[in-house]
């Protein structure tokens, strides 16, 4: 077994691109689910419209990079409003079904042949990240010590990504300490009580949906820029479910819960994958083929989600009294 590769990929996964983008998606979900109690299962759609907003603006319309970012952010806000107006009055399980359906609609439109000229069908779009890498302050080369090194492009993506994660965490921390954040938490605990105090619950929920959606959509940008492409199937329902697993793993309604959750999640996934593939290749495990290693990771995610919710719904850092998992 190639221990160096296994260890190096695992360590890199702790701060890698997936960790960053899932942390951003999970911070958004934490605002929805953790603080406000909204079961938004359409987070992937927020990432999708942002990634595609950027891609289409730059690659198809030929406009500058920063305009693409603005379009992506605007698209996320618009999606939140369009999604929120009909659904935010619904009960939790209906909200979950509707948001998941809306996310699938968005994905089906992105991958449809009818809109291939705009969104590029199932191949997606590429060639829109030059503007981002033109801002790269790192000269060409590799940075790091030994195997723990990144090329200048990846380093730039990771730097920007972690800055975004930091800013998002700061915003969440400050907002949740404010009276505004207390209203959100009160909505999670008892919507009717908040309403009886004269607060406009719908408006607060909408603000929460927009804020969480915008932070989640940063994950879509990070994906698009890091891999210099977007594909519709990246933004499927399983992406949302992974992000939920991360939030619950780290602990909902905690500022750093999603970030730590994302790091642990990806370290575990990459480690399990490395160990299993290594064991299969070197013949230690004979009852599996290399192709079957991929599904095993999803099985572990499913199993992990079940066990977490059964035995430790508050995750690592959470407080059991603060989890919105009882029916209301």
């Amino acid at each position: 077994m190639d221990w160096i590769t296994i260890i190096s990929t695992t360590v890199k996964a702790a701060i890698g691109v997936e960790t960053v983008l899932y942390a951003l998606a999970a911070i958004g979900i934490n605002i929805h689910f953790g603080y406000t109690g909204l079961l938004n299962f359409g987070q992937a759609a927020f990432m999708g419209v942002a990634g595609y907003g950027l891609a289409v603006t730059v690659a198809v319309m030929g406009l500058p990079f920063w305009l693409g970012i603005i379009v992506g952010l605007a698209a996320a806000v618009v999606l939140a409003i369009v999604l929120g107006i009909p659904t935010l009055r619904l009960r939790a399980d209906y909200l979950a079904i509707v948001t998941i359906a809306a996310a699938e609609i968005v994905r089906l439109i992105f991958r449809s042949v009818a809109f291939k000229d705009i969104f590029g069908g199932s191949d997606g779009q590429r060639g829109f990240s030059d503007g981002f890498y033109a801002l790269n302050p790192f000269p060409e080369g590799t940075y790091g010590i030994g195997w723990f090194s990144f090329n200048h492009r990846l380093l730039w993506v990771l730097l920007v990504g972690w800055i975004l994660v930091g800013i998002s965490c700061g915003i969440v921390y400050l907002l949740m300490k404010s009276p505004w954040g207390r209203v959100l938490k009160a909505i999670r605990e008892d919507e009717d009580a908040v309403r009886s105090l004269g607060k406009n619950v719908f408006s607060y929920k909408m603000q929460s949906l927009i804020l969480g959606g915008v932070i989640g959509c940063l994950g879509g940008f990070v994906y698009g820029l890091a891999f210099a492409s977007v594909q519709p199937d990246i933004f499927g329902t399983e992406t949302t479910f992974f992000a939920y697993t991360i939030v619950i793993l780290g602990g909902a309604a905690r500022v750093f819960g999603p970030v730590v959750g994302s790091m642990i999640f990806w370290v575990l996934l990459v480690l399990v994958n490395g160990l299993l593939s290594g064991a299969v290749e070197s013949g230690i495990i004979t009852f599996m083929s290399p192709v079957q290693v991929g599904p095993v990771r999803f099985i572990l995610v499913g199993l992990g989600l079940i066990l977490l919710l059964v035995y430790r719904p508050q995750g690592i850092f959470g407080d059991k009294r603060e989890i919105a998992i009882d029916a209301r």
């Binding site: 009960r91 199932s122 499927g236 399983e238 994958n273 991929g294």
Partner: protein, 426 residues
């Protein structure tokens, strides 16, 4: 029969994501294929020429004895497929007359290219194709819509009953559907049983697994006092878990049962369909009506509705709530398995087949009203019809989009669904 209703490939997306190499999507099993049939009989020896969009030749094939042809393609994109009309049997012609198709090849996907053949008619037939073909098509699509709707209804009924009695929004219900289909496949193809006994065994095993699921898992969670939202998220975990267990054991390919797959179609009025579809629809309708009547008339059925209305009150009036829920889970598992067999019969078997129709099941249940038995039937039929008939105007790849949009609109206008009661909404 039309190929899969929906081509959700979320798994592909997830895998690509995990590999972190987005360009690696090119799976070897992509290309174009089709099957040529004249009034249900395969047509062989027809030359098919595949070129790229700009006219570069890719491959020439001829259809085999089953009337099928296949061209593997490495690069995704648009291709031009031309059927050589001169190689058609003298009594056949292409419906619509256009011998060129421009399909798009997606990565990891076999795209089906349709050339509908029809007998060379006299002058009269050709004259009225313009007006009658729309209605013929509409009738055909209505039939297919009812066919799909009944399958969705079977799955939706189980989901709706389980929701009604336990409050669980089960995201793993699609996997119960897949399970039924794969169990039937196991007994049918691996063990060599005929499909009918294999299907019966699959339904029985599906029911048993439904019972065990409640006995060993969901029932225990209820006893622990797990909230319904927590259970809903747990069901997502269960769905992920089961789906990829299926992938490991079944593989990612598409399979079909060993009987009744390429059944020649029969023409009834404007509708052409394989006889299996009529039998399947009969069975589906019978099961739906039996379960519906059982809910209304039998003691257990009445008890189930009482539990759905108010579990505490039902328990205090002497109903064994756990027993009722267990019966509901057994029934739900069995009819979900039946839905899977029927879905596998009318389309193909794939490890994501249940997941692919899960949102349509939800749409059917929500449309009819969560927790009502006949609501699930009515809602699912509407969804099935809507999906198929809408292909008259929208491209087939977007047909389930309409159903999902209807789901959202219904929740806006009448959140309790067609037959639901006002109290069930939030």
């Amino acid at each position: 029969m039309r190929r899969a209703v929906i081509a959700f490939t979320a798994f592909l997306g997830g895998l690509i994501f995990l590999l972190a190499v987005p360009a690696q999507a090119a799976a070897p099993d992509q290309g174009l294929r089709g099957s040529l049939k004249l009034q249900g009989q395969p047509v062989n020896g027809v030359k098919i020429v595949v070129t790229t969009e700009s006219g570069q030749p890719v491959k020439e094939v001829t259809s085999n004895a089953q009337g099928t042809w296949e061209v593997p393609i490495t690069d995704t994109g648009k291709y031009k497929v031309t059927l050589d009309v001169k190689t058609l049997p003298p009594n056949a012609e292409i419906r619509g007359g256009n011998a060129v198709r421009t399909p798009t090849v997606f990565s990891g996907n076999m795209s089906t290219v349709l050339f509908a053949l029809q007998p060379k008619g006299g002058g009269g037939a050709a004259a009225d194709t313009g007006t009658s073909s729309f209605w013929t098509q509409a009738a055909q699509l209505t039939f297919e819509g009812i066919n799909l709707g009944l399958i969705i209804a079977l799955a939706a009924l189980g989901l709706s009953l389980i929701y009604g009695t336990t409050g669980l929004t089960n995201f793993a219900h699609g996997e119960l559907v897949t399970l039924g289909a794969l169990l039937a496949y196991l007994f049918n193809v691996t063990f060599g049983l005929h499909l009918i006994p294999a299907a019966i065994i699959a339904v029985i095993v599906g029911g048993m697994l439904g019972y065990l699921q409640d006995r060993l898992f969901w029932g225990q969670l209820r006893r622990r006092g797990t909230g319904t939202i927590a259970m809903m998220i747990i069901s997502i975990g269960v769905a992920l878990f089961l789906r990829y267990v299926f992938l490991i054991f079944f593989g990612g390919q598409t399979e079909s049962f060993s009987q009744y797959t390429a059944q020649p179609g029969v023409q009834i009025g404007p509708i052409s369909a394989a006889p299996k579809n009529f039998v399947a629809m009969g069975i589906e309708l019978a099961v739906l009506i039996i379960v519906g009547i059982a809910l209304l008339r039998t003691r257990t059925g009445k008890a189930a509705r009482a539990v759905a209305d108010n579990p505490a009150l039902a328990a205090s009036s002497g109903i064994n709530v756990d027993r009722v829920i267990r019966i509901i889970w057994t029934t739900g598992g069995a009819i979900a398995a039946l839905a899977g067999v029927m879905l596998g019969l009318s389309q193909n078997l794939k490890y994501t087949m249940g997941q692919d129709i899960l949102l349509l099941i939800f749409a059917g249940v929500t449309l009819g009203g969560l927790g009502t038995a006949f609501g699930a039937l009515v809602g699912s039929l509407v969804v099935g019809l809507f999906i198929q008939v809408s292909t008259l105007w929208v491209p087939p790849e977007l047909k389930s989009l309409g159903a999902l949009a209807v789901l959202i609109i219904v929740l806006l206008v009448r959140p309790q669904g067609i037959l639901g009661r006002r109290e069930r909404i939030g």
